[in-house]
Point group: C2
Chain length 141, copies 2
C-alpha cells in the first residue's frame, strides 16, 4: 500500500539571501520572497499584507530517509524523540511547514517574514493560517 506514489510539482521557490537559516520559523525574523509561478498568480489574489500563511515546502536537501531516523535528538533538546513529534527535515516524506507573515504582495511575489528555508526551496502549497475561532475567515460556522 505505501508503495503508491504521490507526485507533486513545485508551485514556486523561496528566494532568500542570508548566510544562516534559523532552525524554525518561530525563531526567525528573516525576510525573503516566495516567487510563485506566474501561471498560478491568480490564486494569490486574496493574500494581503499582514496575513499569516501556512507554507508547505520540500526539504530538498535532506538525505534519503532511513529507519534509523525514526528517533532523533533535536539540536535544542536533550532527549531522543519520535520523528512525528519534531520538526526535523529528515522524515519519511521530507515536507516542511512554516507559518510566515506577509509583508507585501507584488504580482507573483510574496515578501514574507519568518523564513526558515534555504534559498531555492521548492514550495508545494500555500494555505490560510486557521486556528479555531481566531480568524474572521475561519470556516467555523
Amino acid at each position: 500500500m505505501t508503495d503508491k506514489e504521490i507526485i507533486f510539482r513545485p508551485i514556486g521557490y523561496v528566494h532568500v539571501d542570508v548566510e544562516k537559516v534559523p532552525r524554525h520559523w518561530t525563531l526567525s525574523d528573516v525576510v525573503g520572497e516566495l516567487i510563485i509561478e506566474p501561471k498560478y498568480q491568480e490564486g494569490l489574489k486574496d493574500i494581503k499584507e499582514g496575513d499569516r500563511i501556512i507554507v508547505l515546502f520540500h526539504f530538498h536537501k535532506s538525505p534519503p530517509f532511513d529507519l534509523k531516523y525514526l528517533k532523533q535528538k533535536p539540536s535544542h533538546l536533550n532527549r531522543v524523540m519520535g520523528v512525528f513529534s519534531i520538526c526535523s527535515p529528515i522524515r519519511p516524506n521530507p515536507i516542511g511547514l512554516s507559518v510566515l507573515e506577509v509583508l507585501e504582495v507584488n504580482g507573483n511575489k510574496l515578501k514574507v517574514r519568518g523564513i526558515d528555508m534555504y534559498n531555492g526551496t521548492p514550495i508545494i502549497d500555500i494555505k490560510p493560517f486557521v486556528v479555531p475561532g481566531a480568524s474572521e475567515n475561519s470556516p467555523r460556522k
Copy 2:
C-alpha cells in the same frame, strides 16, 4: 522548473466510518483512526493522549487541477476566492492539512477526533502542532 517532480509515499491511511465527512476539521467531532505503517511505529513514540497533531494528507479523490480552479467559491462563503486563501481540496498540489486531537495511542494506531478526511485517505506526514509560545515543547527558546 516546476516540471520537477516531488515524490512522496503514504506513511499510513485514515480509517473512518461515517456517511458524511465534515467540510473542515474546525467543524468536526468525527472520531476515527490513523493507521500508520508498522515500520514507522517507533516514530510515534512521543505522541500522547491529549496531543494536537498536524496531519498532512493526500486529497486522493480530487480531480486533476485546472487553472480555472485558481479562483473558487467556497460552499460556506458568498465570494470567489484565490485557491491559496482557502482550504479547497482542488488545488495545484492536492495536499490537505488538519489539526486533530489524539484520543488514544495503540501501537501503530492513533485514535483521533476532528477528522475531515474520507476513509482510505493516504497520510503523508504527522507533525507537532506548534503555535508560538503556546506549547511547552515549542522550539522557541
